[in-house]
Symmetry: C2
Subunit: 230 residues, 2 copies
């Protein structure tokens, strides 16, 4: 179902949005929220690791992992290795990012796992892990039979898109939840920080959209193995 | 890119989830939140119209509009009429639903349009309206040339999926935002109402997922005109 635009062209827009989003979340957490720390008496600095790791790790590096298999002008085994390594990095950073949210809550006596954001977040990281493991076993090592691979590929792509869209949606819930807490503590509703956070969320959504459009676009001509199977 | 399951089977799961979601949002707004009203001294009753109209109108009837074109065992012109009429109903209920949020804010002296939910909501309803108008003009009346129609169809489907996914994501933001307000006013974080709202959000996401999977599934064999063009 390739649409008539080149995947590499669309992916450049995604790369650009990814860089913009990464800069925006760093400006927010460092300049507006006081910086990042693993251990601190100001527990908010521990929380600040959470949006940084989730956006740059799970969403942006995860998106690059998705696009790499479609766009890189390399042979199938090399692309597959890059695809799975980038997804592993995204998954590990995502797990550390979720851990920082629990660490902040526990050290600040804040309840865990009551909000929709946290519920979906646990769901996303679990499904992401399952998807990675299934992909590793079936497509990399030890690898399934040809029949299992070709049967699995469209489901791997479809389930991957589902998990990725859910990850982006969960991120937008996180921005809204944190900003609502800050605004209920007095942060200006139309102030510069509120606008920065909302626009970071919009850039996140646009990045996710261009990641998905990239994999629906035309693969490089030398490639017969990419997502064009769907 | 049809996947190997029948669209009508998947759509039955979606219909069921739609009914469950509609019942859940009605129980929430009527039994837990005091009921629905267009005019009331208790302004919360005006707000309660908002989630009911957005979920049952824009999301559920909008989803039925999407699935109708894929699943109904009818001729193309009949399906097209049902598709556009259902989308028009969804759009109108969505516009009224958004109006009730403004009405509640204005009569309660609450600020408008500062949250991510409201920004995306305005974006979704605008894009939904543009998508409907474009579809009407190109595919219904006066209708574009054959070349324009066949060129437009994959983009109509792709843009429609994008707007619909964004609508579902915006709905989840709405559940989280309202529940966060209620919890900051003392509602129990692990209480029955909080669980009802979070599970309504999850049912909404599952409904949206099954709507999308329906249009990626196999159309009835007598049909050559449905989304199988992508």
């Amino acid at each position: 179902m390739a649409i008539g635009v080149k995947a590499s062209h669309i992916s450049f827009v995604a790369h650009f949005l990814g860089i913009v989003g990464a800069i925006m979340v760093l400006i927010w957490c460092i300049s507006f929220r006081g910086g990042l720390a693993w251990e601190a008496t100001n527990k908010n600095l521990i929380f600040n690791l959470h949006p940084v790791l989730m956006l740059i790790g799970l969403i942006i590096i995860g998106g690059e992992a998705i696009m790499s298999y479609k766009c890189l002008p390399l042979k199938k085994p090399e692309k597959k290795l890059i695809h799975l390594v980038l997804h592993a990095i995204a998954l590990i950073l995502g797990i550390i990012g979720i851990y920082t949210a629990f660490k902040f809550h526990n050290e600040s006596n804040i309840a865990n796992l009551y909000s929709l954001h946290s519920w979906l977040g646990i769901g996303v990281i679990s499904l992401y892990g399952i998807q990675w493991l299934y992909g590793f076993v079936v497509f990399f090592y030890p690898g399934g039979t040809t029949a299992i691979r070709s049967e699995s590929l469209p489901w791997h792509v479809l389930f991957g898109i589902f998990v990725y869209v859910l990850a982006v949606a969960t991120a937008t819930l996180g921005y809204l939840e944190k900003l609502t807490f800050l605004e209920s503590s007095g942060l200006a509703k139309y102030g510069s920080e509120a606008f920065l956070v909302n626009f970071t969320a919009i850039v996140t959504i646009l990045y996710g959209t261009f990641v998905i459009v990239t994999i629906l676009s035309q693969a490089p001509p030398e490639d017969e193995y990419s997502y064009s199977a769907i």
